[in-house]
């Protein structure tokens, strides 16, 4: 199996593995990914936040690659050496890309429905700069209800194309895509069309920011006030395996189950997502595991505050 070294950690990976997935196997210092989605064919390479430096291309070619490469679409070769956060060049470039992404995405997390689950929020915290140097007007859009369940707020869209790939690969008769070009590009449906099919709700799950939101949940609660539980039901369209987001005994929201990289494990149908919101519709399996660093974990996971022992006690 080919051997790859990422940030001084060496691992054997199956042939054809990308640098990003190799980093995910190692599990430390994984490059961020805003547009790559392992479940969607053809995704990746667009947001450029996962740029890494290849200092050695392979055993046969000890020279590095002349430019930074997108780790989500670059396959590893035997003997490849990659620098992620150990390369100042990568850190600087990533900071630059985050700054550019935030030009047309407001960091208004307190009033965004995605707060607490937003990949860009995490990214800007981990890799961004404290302030912006952009002082021109930013583009704004009205919110659009595209169908009964989904609201599009283009102001927050970072054009990752994930929802387009989802609609293309999961649904029949895709009615939305990207119109215009450059920084005028936007997600749009065909004229007077709505997104209405059995799997349309998955575009909400794949959106890394708060551009596509669930109209049945929007601003009903903040995610850290809800309690996520694994549940399932018999469904003739999908696996029926979901996460229920409870407030008390009330199910506020149903989503797909997401892995540690925020990608759903199995896409679910609209019936499960939007039309079965009673606890009695589901077989509840138990608590959803939430990373302790996630804001969603607040108030849910048992933890103890450190005990402070003032010096005055010791002095006595």
């Amino acid at each position: 199996m080919p051997k790859v070294t990422i940030d001084n950690i060496t691992i054997d990976v199956p042939p054809g593995t990308t640098i990003l997935n190799a980093a995910r196997m190692i599990g430390e210092n994984v490059p961020p990914a805003m547009c790559y989605y392992s479940k969607l064919k053809g995704s990746g390479g667009k947001c450029r936040v996962c740029l890494v430096k290849v200092t050695k291309t392979s055993e046969q070619n000890p020279r590095g690659m002349p430019k930074l490469v997108a780790s989500c679409v670059t396959q590893i070769a035997d003997g490849m050496v990659v620098e992620n956060i150990t390369s100042p060049e990568v850190v600087e470039a990533r900071k630059g890309v985050v700054e550019l992404l935030l030009i047309n995405h407001p960091l208004d997390c307190p009033v965004c429905d995605q707060a607490g689950e937003c990949h860009l929020q995490d990214l800007s915290y981990e890799h961004g700069a404290a302030t912006t140097r952009y002082d021109f007007g930013r583009r704004t859009f009205n919110k659009i209800d595209i169908g009964p369940y989904i609201q599009l707020h283009m102001t927050r869209c970072i054009l990752c194309y994930r929802c387009v790939y989802t609609a293309d690969q999961l649904t029949d008769g895709r009615v939305h895509g990207i119109i215009n070009r450059g920084d005028a590009a936007e997600i749009s449906t065909y004229i007077e069309n709505i997104i209405d099919n059995d799997f349309s709700g998955n575009v909400i799950d794949v959106c890394p920011v708060g551009a596509l939101t669930d109209r049945t949940f929007r601003f009903k609660s903040r995610v850290w006030f809800t309690k996520p539980m694994n549940a399932h039901r018999n469904c003739d369209k999908c696996s029926g395996k979901v996460t229920l987001w409870f407030q008390g005994e009330e199910v506020l929201r149903v989503t797909g189950r997401k892995d540690q990289y925020g990608e759903v494990e199995e896409f679910i149908c609209n019936t499960c997502r939007f039309e079965t919101k009673k606890k009695s519709d589901w077989v509840v399996e138990g608590h959803r595991r939430i990373d302790t660093h996630s804001v969603i974990a607040q108030n849910h996971l048992p933890y103890e505050l450190d005990v402070v022992h003032p010096q005055i006690e010791q002095a006595q």
């Binding site: 450029r48 936040v49 740029l51 890309v97 895509g177 990207i178 070009r181």
Partner: protein, 452 residues
């Protein structure tokens, strides 16, 4: 002094546009020779021997590119002619297609034969619709004469050639975006690898070559690769079409032997005829708007003090910041009255408009650069804007999917590197910068709002 002309020798003859006139002047001899006397690999070998480099801008060796075409499966192979000539300052290919369309068709047939292609396309810029009709007429003539279609000239080789108009987007000149566009999709560049030679049009092995590159192939077949390699200088073999414009006495398209001194090209009566109005030469963009601009001191001499030549190597200065690129041959000359800031803004405006928006740095960065340059040009610039502009272009360069990001960043970087004092003048003298009139009137665009 009369110099060797490979492409433009007969271009002024009116009858050359038609197939009869073209054949009368020696046309289609290369097709006869290739199809009847040569094997496909022999044609590729001749092109390799010639040292021909891609004339679309990148300058990659054509023969080597052809040899990359994947032959390991039964999928059809395609040859695409990139006629999406959209770079500001570059207008050379249209001359060939307009005046001597059969040269391109002959080149396409010979190249397709070498690559084992059964279907080939000419992807033409949408704004060149009138040329599309000229090409279509020429293709019809070639079909009628038996140079295209089934069993060309009685051989077993068959080829279909189509001409396809683009929608007029600059990005569709990038080879993978061109393929996407030809497939009927949005013209977004693909991520490489896989390279088109392995997986291109409809997932099949595909070669994309520029018009001028393909037009060179008939000469190489007729005269031999070595004859072609003896023209030019060093690794820059053969001739090159240069579209010269700007403040010169004789703007136009010139065919030069590579290696001609830049000074001679600008000042000799055979070519540009000197600077208009006898003014001083201020700056030069030698290869289309995407390449770095050169200041006066680096135009006729390289950083080493050697004469600057019209060649890939000499113009690039070995990749150092003192050089530029031969690029597509869009030769733009600036006299002493021209404003570099305004010109840089103008280029930047183009790249902002034409960015496909697929990847973040290019989508957001090109607009940011344009807005900063706009406010500098219109008297609202601040001294820190110059460093900010430098930093923004660095964030784009090298970080994008396709070379468009570099193309938008290089002109800005070179302008700041060589003409920083002019940017500072704009900041220090905003009223004077705003008052200037270039005979074109003030831009109707509103000044960007400064909110901080």
């Amino acid at each position: 002094m009369s110099r060797l002309k490979i492409l433009t020798e007969h271009i002024d003859k009116p009858e050359i546009t038609g197939i009869e006139g073209y054949i009368k002047h020696g046309g289609y001899r290369a097709v006869e020779k290739a199809l009847k006397k040569m094997q496909p690999d022999e044609v590729t070998e001749e092109v390799k021997k010639s040292g021909l480099r891609g004339r679309g801008g990148a300058g990659f060796p054509t023969g080597m590119k052809w040899s990359f075409i994947f032959k390991g499966n039964d999928k059809p192979r395609y040859l695409l002619c990139n006629a999406d000539e959209s770079e500001p300052g570059t207008f050379k290919d249209r001359l060939l297609m307009e005046k001597i369309p059969h040269l391109l068709i002959e080149g396409m047939i010979a190249s397709s034969f070498a690559l084992g292609v059964k279907t080939a396309y000419i992807y033409i810029r949408g704004e060149y619709m009138y040329i599309l009709h000229i090409l279509q007429k020429a293709i019809d003539e070639a079909y009628a004469k038996g140079y295209l279609g089934e069993n060309i000239l009685g051989t077993t080789y068959s080829l279909d050639l189509h001409v396809h108009p683009g929608g007029g987007a600059y990005i569709c000149g990038e080879e993978t975006a061109l393929i996407e566009s030809l497939e009927g999709k949005r013209g977004n560049p693909r991520i490489k690898p896989p390279f088109p030679a392995v997986e291109g049009l409809w997932g099949c092995p595909t070669i994309v070559n520029n018009v001028e590159t393909i037009c060179k192939v008939p000469f190489i077949i007729n005269e031999g690769g070595e004859t072609y390699a003896n023209i030019g200088i060093g690794a820059s073999t053969g001739t090159k079409l240069i579209s010269a414009c700007g403040n010169i006495n004789k703007p136009g398209v010139y065919e030069i032997e590579l290696g001609v001194p830049v000074e001679e090209f600008i000042y000799s009566d055979e070519y540009c005829g000197g600077i208009k109005g006898g003014k001083q030469l201020k700056a030069l963009v030698p290869g289309g708007s995407s390449v770095p601009i050169l200041p006066n001191r680096l135009i006729t001499k390289t950083a080493k003090g050697e004469p600057r030549l019209m060649s890939y190597e000499s113009l690039s200065d070995g990749g150092f910041p003192t050089g530029s690129m031969l690029g597509s041959g869009g030769f733009i000359v600036f006299d002493e009255d021209q404003c570099i800031v305004r010109n840089t803004w103008n280029f930047s405006r183009f790249y902002h408009h034409e960015s496909c928006g697929q990847c973040s740095p290019c989508r957001e960065g090109t607009g940011w650069m344009e807005k900063i340059l706009h406010r500098m040009e219109y008297g609202h610039g601040r001294m820190e804007d110059i460093d900010l502009l430098w930093d923004v272009q660095r964030k784009i360069e090298g970080n994008t999917i396709c070379p468009f990001g570099d193309a938008s960043a290089w002109p800005v970087a070179a302008a700041i590197r060589h003409f920083r004092d002019e940017f500072e003048w704009h900041v220090l003298h905003p009223a004077e910068a705003t008052r200037r009139n270039y005979g074109m009137g003030r831009s109707a665009e509103p000044i960007e709002q400064v909110t901080a």
